[in-house]
Symmetry: C2
Subunit: 140 residues, 2 copies
């Protein structure tokens, strides 16, 4: 039960992209990496997933970078994490022999409850929430 570095990096990167998009400037991978302390080459890979998920738009070539493709209030932590980690699975039981009777599986019960709770939390955390809480007006 842990948050992967992938998810952590993706949240941080999206926060930076969101901040800069609201200032009408794009930000490139090197800047994000430096601001948030993320290995650049690794981040490059992650951002591709964020792009494929439709969360950011890329601007290629010199002076390129990334901007949000939607409003910060319309992108939540669930989408961001799912973009880089794939659909949250949880639970080996699903479909296994011991749990074909999955409506009698205690582990499955726990997994379902957890999933619902986690989804609820992550769906309610938007990038706008991050900006309102963490971004100072005077920062770039």
């Amino acid at each position: 039960m842990k948050i992967s570095a992938k998810a952590e990096y993706a949240l941080k990167a999206m926060y930076e992209i969101a901040r800069h998009t609201q200032k009408n400037i794009n930000i490139n991978v090197s800047e994000i990496a430096q601001l948030q302390g993320i290995p650049k080459a690794y981040l490059e890979q992650l951002i591709v997933h964020l792009k494929k998920a439709g969360l950011v738009r890329s601007i290629r070539g010199a002076k390129g970078g990334y901007v949000l493709s939607r409003n910060a209030g319309e992108i939540n932590a669930n989408e961001i994490i799912e973009a880089v980690e794939g659909p949250m699975d949880l639970g080996h039981c699903i479909g296994s022999k011991a749990c074909s009777k999955s409506d009698k599986c205690v582990a499955n019960d726990v997994v379902q409850q957890l999933r619902q709770s986690i989804d609820n939390v992550l769906n309610n955390i938007t990038l706008q929430y991050f900006i309102d809480k963490y971004s100072n007006k005077e920062d770039i």
Copy 2:
């Protein structure tokens, strides 16, 4: 973000021990393994942790096995999972350089919210809840 096999097995094993304890019989590792489809040798290791955490009592020697050491209503999923997985950590940020300013770390924010939510769910799932929901009166 996933439930480990360890946690899954521990929940299932504790459920079986709880059921049997309420019938005043102890159950051994082989029986648990067979009933729940868990590799026996692996389960042996896990149960030792459950014992060290004070959740079960062992009866050694022939006709030995395990019984709950507390009432089923007083043992919850959080304790069970923590017993086999150690304290839930989540989040690489904690204490890292990029997040020494951890009150400005968006990933840390998410981790805190998740942790609280997960704890809340797991604390409210007791073994008695499992028994009431899943155990038929006519089963041994």
